[in-house]
């Protein structure tokens, strides 16, 4: 019997200890392993506090109820000769324990309501960014405010070897991307979320944002970061095989640095873009194409072009990859409705030309075809 009581005690004490453990964790700012990470925005702080508040109430009720039960279990046992009473009804008691929880719940719902209303208020943003989910990367479009017009794709930068356990895992394993979303501190950033294929979710816990990205629809959310720093998130809706590998990194900069970043980006895009009318050589296209392929297509069609039988067709020897060029280009540009093959319109003309050229001349495919960016441009219109 002693062991039972100890076991129960262990769990009760864990429950009591846990919130205090969690509360202590909050101040030191590092990522917690037992509680919500330190909040990085007003809303996230409210969320954090609400969670602690509700948790404490629950722990108190828990101790009340199970303290009573534990007492009963220890004292009211037959082996101690305890004789059963025979009450089995009391309207008063029952009314009391229906009403009290009602008030407790009211006490929880009240502060939550205020936060919800704030959380949903996406009006008057300083900056609006559209994030588009792709299988499996994020596309960002700065639509309004400082930085308007900036546009880039952002995908995981953890090397495959680390995931495959062929290289030691880095510190930011699975939580690093090639292009961070950069925003200024203390500005209201409105995120518009949509998707190109399946449902994804844009989620950064520390900023208190999680919003599904639904294909064909736009939804929004907002945050205002308290201080500069790096905030990490993950795609939070199952979106296929690489769902685990679709992180989000938000880089919050002080205002001046943000302006510098914007200027840098502007300059980059002002540099004469690669001329779409330029004629590329086979080698140039194949080299670029291989990179584009590895970054966008290999997840499904595999690096060796063999695909995965039953799910993703191989491109090595596929009718489309060695057939007429037009069908191949259309497939990549528009995808195929009702299948996992999404439209890749968001890639640049050069990239698409390169990847198509690559596919037509890689592995066992030897069409010798060269697809120029100008052809892609023609197809777009």
């Amino acid at each position: 019997m002693g062991s039972k009581v100890t076991a129960i005690l262990v769990w009760v004490s864990t429950l009591i200890l846990y919130p205090s453990m969690a509360a202590a964790e909050r101040t030191d700012g590092i990522l917690s392993t037992v509680n919500l990470p330190a909040a990085g925005s007003q809303i996230a702080t409210e969320m954090y506090d609400l969670h602690m508040y509700v948790l404490y109430i629950c722990v108190v009720i828990f101790i009340g109820v199970f303290g009573t039960m534990l007492y009963s279990v220890i004292v009211h046992r037959k082996s101690k000769g305890f004789k059963a009473a025979n009450f089995h009804h009391s309207t008063t008691v029952e009314i009391i324990w229906t009403i009290i929880p009602f008030f407790i719940l009211f006490g929880m719902a009240f502060p939550a309501t205020q936060t919800i209303i704030d959380m949903k208020d996406t009006s008057t943003p300083d900056i609006t960014i559209k994030a588009t989910g792709y299988q499996w990367q994020w596309g960002y479009d700065y639509l309004q405010g400082e930085g308007e017009g900036i546009k880039f794709l952002s995908k995981i930068s953890t090397p495959r070897e680390q995931i495959r356990n062929e290289a030691p895992k880095g510190e930011n394993y699975l939580r690093e991307v090639d292009n961070n979303v950069v925003v200024p501190v203390g500005k209201k950033v409105r995120m518009l979320l949509t998707s190109n294929d399946v449902i994804h979710a844009w989620s950064v816990q520390q900023l208190g944002v999680k919003q599904d990205a639904i294909p064909g629809f736009i939804r929004d959310a907002w945050f205002k970061a308290d201080k500069p720093g790096i905030y990490k998130g993950v795609c939070s809706e199952l979106c296929g095989k690489e769902h685990a590998f679709m992180p989000i990194v938000v880089e919050v900069l002080a205002q001046e640095e943000y302006s510098k970043w914007v200027a840098g980006q502007k300059q980059e895009s002002a540099e004469p873009a690669v001329d779409v009318n330029k004629e590329f050589t086979m080698d140039e296209l194949k080299a670029t194409g291989e990179k584009v392929y590895a970054g966008n297509c290999a997840a499904c069609h595999q690096a060796n072009g063999k695909g995965i039988s039953g799910t993703f067709p191989g491109l090595d020897g596929s009718k489309i990859a060695v057939g007429p060029k037009a069908d191949h280009i259309k497939m990549v540009l528009n995808g195929k409705a009702g299948s996992a093959m999404a439209a890749f319109k968001h890639l640049s003309d050069v990239d698409i030309a390169a990847v198509v050229t690559y596919e037509r001349n890689a592995w066992g495919n030897t069409t010798g075809d060269l697809v120029q960016p100008s052809e892609i441009k023609a197809f777009r219109n």
């Binding site: 559209k130 639509l143 309004q144 518009l192 064909g216 629809f217 736009i218 929004d220």
Partner: protein, 285 residues
């Protein structure tokens, strides 16, 4: 033998359910393979159907025999009533799902798709003006919606009349007027069959002249799924009525004991009511 049994009738072990399960096994795999265009699917589906029909004949035949030999007492009879009642309730919920989908699209998702620009300053479908009926923002093929006052109104009249003849049959059975019973049942079935015929004609008309298809976006999908499932239920009801008709010809049912008939008539009325819902929400509004 008309003496009421004094015990609740518990059937002896039976192979019919197992036969039914085997049928469903073939049909389940068959359907999954068929929709993926594997030839073996059709074979499996056909085998499954054949077994199912065999099972239905056998099972219902047994029940009819048990019923006629007086094995079902009052309590068994009321079990059937509860059972049939709740079964119809599940059918109501099934249709509620599809009506819900229709209303969700009409009232929520289609307007959202049209108002995106206003709400977010940018839109996935900039060109789209919401309205109903619609094929949705991404489907360019045009179609003409189905009007309410032609064939559909006639169909409404057909089904309502068949509801009346069905009730007439019920009176006939209660008053033991066998020839009236036969006639009214026959009429009910004929009206049902005519309804199905009209519905089939309407589909052909929709496909060939209105260019209204399953693939015509929200309108096409809800139109065909709702009317299609309803039509399927009418067909089932008509088949059940036909079975009842043959049982009547064979002299089954008594004025005070005829739940086989009543259950089917409940079903028929249910199908009727669903049609009214369809007529109003799919065709009229």
């Amino acid at each position: 033998m008309s003496q009421e049994a004094n015990h609740y009738y518990i059937p002896t072990p039976s192979t019919w359910p197992l036969t039914g399960a085997i049928a469903i096994f073939f049909m389940g795999f068959g359907a999954a393979f068929t929709v993926n265009k594997l030839p073996i699917g059709y074979v499996s589906l056909a085998i499954g159907f054949a077994i199912l029909i065999y099972m239905l004949f056998g099972w219902f035949g047994t029940v009819a025999k048990e019923s006629e030999s007086g094995k079902f007492n009052k309590q068994v009879d009321s079990s059937f009533r509860w059972g049939m009642g709740w079964f119809i309730f599940t059918e109501v919920m099934f249709f509620a799902g599809f009506f819900g989908a229709l209303y969700y699209m009409r009232v929520l998702s289609v307007p959202w798709l049209g108002e995106m620009e206003i709400a977010y300053g940018t839109s996935v479908w900039p060109e789209y003006a919401a309205g109903w009926p619609t094929a949705g923002p991404g489907i360019t093929e045009q179609f003409t919606p189905m009007g309410a006052w032609g064939l559909p109104a006639f169909n409404t009249a057909l089904l309502l009349t068949s509801g009346l003849t069905c009730t007439w049959a019920h009176w006939a059975i209660k008053l033991d007027k066998r020839s009236q019973l036969k006639w009214s049942l026959f009429l009910t079935i004929a009206l049902g069959a005519l309804f199905i015929g009209c519905q089939a004609y309407e589909y052909m008309h929709a496909y060939s002249e209105l260019n209204l298809k399953m693939t015509s976006g929200a309108y096409g999908a809800t139109f065909y799924m709702l009317t299609g499932f309803h039509g399927f239920h009418v067909t089932l009801g008509a088949i059940m009525l036909t079975v009842i008709y043959f049982r009547v010809l064979a002299g089954h049912f008594k004025p005070e004991h005829h739940f086989g008939f009543e259950g089917v008539s409940w079903y028929w009325h249910f199908v009727d009511v669903v049609w009214l819902g369809l007529f109003v929400f799919v065709y009229l509004l």
